[in-house]
Symmetry: C2
Subunit: 421 residues, 2 copies
């Protein structure tokens, strides 16, 4: 049986655990060296494929591939480039075939979210459309938790844990000083279109009065009066009010609150920042002293506080992708299936790339309380298993030891370069 | 020998480890129950003393007092109230004596930074000025690391570790995407007057090209041209540029950069936020896509990533305070003494409150590189031991289990209330 090489690439915003998927994939492929030759990685996602910028992962040590499991961000680089349709951009697909063919590649693994699975789906059509036999498997990843079919998306559990831990800690800080100082604290979190990450903050509140007291979801337009009334009630009842606000919060007219926003000293619009706008609304109406935080990349890179469940699932997705390919599957993505029953158990399932691509799963309305400011028990039951367990990296000199791979380039075999549009 | 009660209070901004000092103090006092009666805690610092709002810590279990070691923020509440001088505000001091006397208190422990040690110093004068025999011991605490005499301040090591870990992780995230997306990342950290916290970010960079590439200190006025040139050089050499910016950064005219800042849609000035202003300067001059984070309270509350060294030192300071009091010392503060030699070792020393009060220690100029954008080897040698070791809290349901004390109020014995000015 002839051995073919595999190509792996990372796509879209990176996470604390996407490299765990890479580790699972490469370690599993190495165990099947009778069937898979080298695993190459494309530098910066699909762009690296188009430009024939490949990395030879066989030159990385076993220890370094194992250490990927504990290393955040994208070890091979990522991109947000989407392939155009095969009808309109046939040249791109012919180029992919040239690169695959030149490097003896018949397995392609694409690790990303909804947009990236659209690209994976398009690559999977190459066999039929261009006659080159490529096996294409998607690997799920996104902090936004908005992929369909899978119970949850690898990457989300760790950002969820970060947000819940952070608002618990900061909320205690605010409570300590509230009598004479800051009474309102706002933590802005990611989630432009869906409130999953903001919802995870709600896990920190286990009993009445715990932080966060208010969650502002992208799914629920901000009603300023109701919001202010709630802030005031929290300060009266608990002495303070801690708020988790999604960057995707919209006003009653459906515009992003962050867009109504700030201008700098030159009158130019300032990008980003729901938290300072909410803070200002509170200050002007209620007069409370406030503080706010904006976690930005800190939240999705926080491998030091990753969810063990999330790490295990991310690794399992990479492993399953190789097993799927070797089992002759194509144009599918492994998914996480939640088993029925009171004890959380999960297994690996599969979904067709065709149906995964470009679908965004929003929070069900019954995961948000009727007043729109909190999460329901159903939401808590869904979210809680995803942040279970700690999986600490090793430390040296007080700092986590994350691996930096050699990322040695594979010698180019094609004469022509390719311009990515 | 008659037994007298002790009174402990927390003051100023809280930290991830101030409760470790409380734990050390209460556990040590309990071991000397032949000499010390109850340990009371004042609610919200000196305000709780003046208003006779005391907590009976003897009603807290051994397990809960032990758990304080792993719990961030201020378990008894804190304040920033400063006592006026004894000459001008004699009534306040007479009130303190009334409260001490009513509750049989002859030991007073005040846990805070420079301003708080001023209050501790003033309380220590009560014996001489008002004839009431009070033993007053300060306990050092501040994330700002600006207390004199002590080698470092409890609370600083943990925020230093948080900042170094966070910029390492976020820097890797930026590096992954820089080829086609965000090229400049700015993380704003605390430190209104001294750059110790910003400097700690520098520990994350262990070799050329590591994040952070630039540190902006309050001690070094921002030279915009030199800064932009450095950002550009980093993007050209490393593909991206990660920056740690102190909230206390000043411009060439000596004003806070955050004050030149943002106005909201109503034209009102927006408080806080050096990071978005720096981001804007970069965007307008160099055109790079940017992201920024503002850690705010997350950094000083982050017990989940506390420095083990910091926790041990904070605990030791609380323990030493009791031992000092029982040894007949007065008007002193235990300090951390760094032993000479290549291996980091520390011991407990002492400093007079009179000389500790109201002094702010800035970064030595030779801790900052000549160009003003980084830390020197001397600074690294000083900072590195302070972030050593991890000291994780216990987790339940994926979240750290922090203790919430009962905080049962002691029955008031005084008829008169007291209005805190």
């Amino acid at each position: 049986m002839e051995k073919w090489n595999a190509l792996y690439a990372q796509s879209g915003g990176v996470t604390a655990v996407i490299n765990a998927s890479a580790s699972g994939l490469i370690e599993t492929a190495r165990k099947h060296s009778d069937q898979i030759g080298n695993v190459f990685a494309a530098r910066n996602g699909i762009i690296g494929v188009l430009t024939e910028d490949l990395i030879d992962t066989s030159l990385e040590s076993e220890a370094d591939i194992a250490a990927l499991r504990y290393t955040p961000a994208g070890a091979f680089g990522s991109c947000r480039h989407k392939l155009g349709s095969i009808e309109k951009h046939r040249k791109q697909y012919e180029r992919l075939v040239e690169v695959f063919s030149a490097h003896h590649i018949r397995y392609f693994f694409y690790n990303g979210g909804g947009d990236s699975q659209d690209t994976a789906h398009k690559v999977s059509q190459i066999s039929k459309e261009l006659g080159y036999p490529i096996t294409c498997i998607g690997i799920p990843k996104t902090v936004d938790n908005d992929l369909p079919f899978t119970d949850n998306s690898p990457g989300f559990g760790s950002v969820a844990k970060y947000v819940a831990v952070s608002i618990r800690e900061a909320g205690m800080d605010v409570a300590s000083m509230a009598e004479t100082s800051t009474k309102v604290f706002i933590m802005e979190v990611m989630g432009r279109h869906a409130g999953w990450i903001a919802a995870a903050g709600g896990l920190a509140a286990e009993k009445d009065g715990d932080s966060p007291h208010i969650i502002l979801f992208p799914e629920i337009p901000l009603k300023v009066d109701a919001f202010l009334a709630r802030v005031k009630a929290c300060v009266l009842n608990y002495g303070h009010c801690s708020i988790v606000a999604s960057e995707g919060l919209k006003n009653a007219e459906g515009q992003f609150v962050s867009d109504q926003g700030l201008v700098d000293a030159f009158g130019h619009k300032q990008l980003g920042g729901v938290a300072p706008i909410i803070a200002k609304i509170v200050k002007e109406s209620l007069g409370y002293k406030y503080h706010w935080a904006l976690a930005d990349y800190l939240q999705r890179a926080a491998r030091h506080i990753a969810s063990k469940t999330d790490v295990e699932q991310a690794y399992a997705m990479g492993k399953a992708a190789v097993e799927f390919a070797l089992a002759g599957k194509n144009a599918v993505m492994p998914i996480i299936v939640r088993e029925k029953g009171n004890t959380y158990r999960w297994s690996v399932g599969e979904a067709p790339l065709e149906k995964v691509a470009n679908v965004e799963v929003k929070m069900p309305r019954d995961y948000i309380t009727d007043d729109g400011f909190g999460i329901t028990d159903a939401c808590r039951a869904y979210l809680s298993p995803l942040i279970q367990g700690e999986d600490y990296p090793t430390y040296k000199n007080g700092l986590p030891q994350y691996v930096k791979l050699k990322n040695t380039a594979v010698a180019k075999k094609l004469d022509a370069t390719f311009e990515v549009a």
